[in-house]
Chain length 382, copies 2
């Protein structure tokens, strides 16, 4: 009895993508001028083309990083450094209150450089409030960071609507989108007419941990965080993770090959879990309505229980879910995201995240539902 | 007819290390509190122990990065940021003139923050001049960066002697060592009594590209370059490259298992190449004497030829060597390292780097020597 329901933290690697990668990579350094070096470079540029093709951008505007955290840091710190270096009068950063720590903490770190952070709030189901944009954007706004899908709740965000509003007010505001939980999974793609930069992470789409990339429009220059090489057009020096990049391309292709059927499958799994919980008369609260949520992520609260002890119990029984995001899983502080949604305390402290991938089965979901039902019954009766 | 003689740019992965890694890694996010997460974390900490054990440090002082370039940036930028934040009066950085660009360019980038860069020169065979330390270190010296083995020439550096001299003058000077070409290869280890930080790169020791680590003594605090997670004690946030870290540990174990025999083997290969060239009466110059050089790297010049065209010819014939380091292999500028050695122009423009690994054979070396002899004969006669 077991099931891995934490693909939003890290998705299992596509086996075929891994096999293809292992047969493809060689030992050359992509900076070497000889054949093995050029072959390694070609693998990198092949993935670059695949990503550009998927997002609808130019391959020259795709930059590989060690993951989404690094990408967020390069984009935010890099643009702020550029503004400071050019004595820009813009000194405000707008972030949504539900951004991932990689964006949220990096934006707040810019306070030490004289930047003011303004937060866009979200509504009760975790959707960023579009109607605050007009009030928040002004002539001092340097950049706006909005995510495509929230990692803790699965709430799909009105990225393009917000980006369009911003660009209508001032086309020189730099709009950055955390596409980590949308990339290769959902059709609601950031539109590159209004979104100037986006980033993703390999291990959320069935590639490996330690790789990611960002797209950056030529309109917005950044200064690099690091020095010492001309890799990735000097935006990200250091020998490239060829294995990770090759696997990223393979995983993207695998995702796109089965795109619609996987969405159908995970939606069925999520709905099946919900109907099982209903059938078993479990007292749960779904934090984001079905039509507002990524089908890959199900955010549920079980009033009367504690998510921390529920998680321990599930782990013991071989069900791997998450209490908030993986990055904060060892923290005992209440989720910043659920707090931003102004949910009652008993919801916040009893919320868990169940996230799906191509690997999960209906049988696993049945077992999970049964286990949740049993757990809630015992826990609440005590 | 072919041979890969560019392991100093990137060494072939140890097949057994790769197989062990693939059977060991799982899909958990090391930040997750559940079993797959804890298993992933354990893999990371296992490699941490192996590295600490090898260098003779504390596992808590080992930090994983995406490679040596990132490690160098974190250490240099991180310490300088710390000093600035604490209004230190120290504003000088000493680097050797033969440092890798990851160190050299990062140090020079600190000029924009008000730091003065002082270079230690090297002698004619590329060894850093110890006798300049006393003159260069003063009460304003913040840090000194010296490499263990030069990546272009293979020249072994008197790291410990220099570090001891520095510490004798002022124990609060931060001594950082680029151990990339020494780590797991040579016995001349940086001594942690006098060297405060060192870093290495996975793909130079038979692990994969995209991973590296640094050791940092508790005595010297640094500010992180990036924000958004508590991984690696917040010095390096972002989901860890578990595959890369696991493989790093496996490759280190594999290196140490065959440490002396591999040194013996590559030394034999290098000496065999030299005696073959002598036998074939090739006019060559060895840039670093045998006893001063890492046996893994052979730096040779062929007066009267051009290293660029020699490299093209060798590549066409399936011999993969390097003209300087991989990072500058597409550059036409004369090598900064060889220029620092004040070598005559005809030596600088005809120098190539031949580097070995466990994979090379005497037969390959014979073929390479024959090809070099033929090339020099034809090229010089024309």
């Amino acid at each position: 009895m077991s099931g891995y329901f934490d693909s939003a933290a890290s998705m299992p690697i596509f086996p075929r993508a891994l096999l293809n990668t292992l047969t493809k990579i060689n030992h050359g350094n992509p900076s070497s001028a000889h054949l093995p070096g050029r072959q390694a470079k070609k693998i990198i540029n092949n993935t670059r083309l695949q990503i550009a093709d998927y997002i609808g951008g130019d391959p020259d505007q795709i930059y590989f990083t060690s993951g989404a955290t690094e990408a967020a840091n390069i984009l935010i710190q890099g643009y702020i450094s550029y503004l400071i270096n050019n004595s820009s009068f813009r000194n405000e950063i707008i972030v949504s209150s539900i951004e991932h720590p990689a964006v949220f903490q990096t934006a707040y770190a810019m306070q030490s450089k004289g930047f003011v952070i303004r937060e866009i709030s979200c509504n009760e189901w975790g959707e960023i409030n579009c109607n605050e944009i007009e009030r928040l954007v002004n002539e001092k706004t340097a950049m706006v960071c909005i995510m495509a899908v929230n990692n803790e709740t699965g709430a799909i965000q009105p990225v393009n609507e917000i980006a369009r509003q911003i660009k209508k007010i001032d086309s020189d505001v730099f709009v950055v989108c955390d596409a980590v939980q949308q990339f290769a999974k959902l059709d609601v793609k950031p539109e590159l007419q209004v979104v100037d930069a986006l980033f993703m992470s390999g291990h959320k789409i069935g590639a490996d941990k330690g790789i990611g990339c960002f797209y950056l429009s030529n309109r917005f220059p950044i200064l690099p965080l690091m020095y010492g090489g001309v890799q990735e057009q000097s935006y990200r020096p250091g020998t490239e993770n060829v294995y990770g990049i090759a696997l990223l391309g393979e995983a993207l292709m695998e995702s796109l090959r089965n795109h619609d059927s996987t969405i159908g499958k995970v939606r069925q799994l999520a709905r099946h879990l919900i109907s099982r919980l209903d059938f078993l008369q479990v007292n749960y609260v779904r934090l984001v309505p079905d039509e507002k949520s990524s089908p890959y992520i199900l955010s549920l609260a079980f009033p009367g229980t504690s998510s921390a002890s529920m998680m321990r119990d599930l782990t013991t029984s071989g069900f791997y879910i998450s209490q908030g995001s993986a990055c904060s899983s060892h923290s005992m502080a209440p989720s910043r995201i659920l707090s931003a949604m102004r949910l009652p305390n008993e919801i916040i402290t009893s919320a868990i995240r169940i996230s799906f991938s191509y690997e999960n089965t209906l049988e696993e979901v049945d077992l999970l539902a049964d286990h949740l039902a049993l757990y809630c019954k015992v826990e609440i009766e005590i």
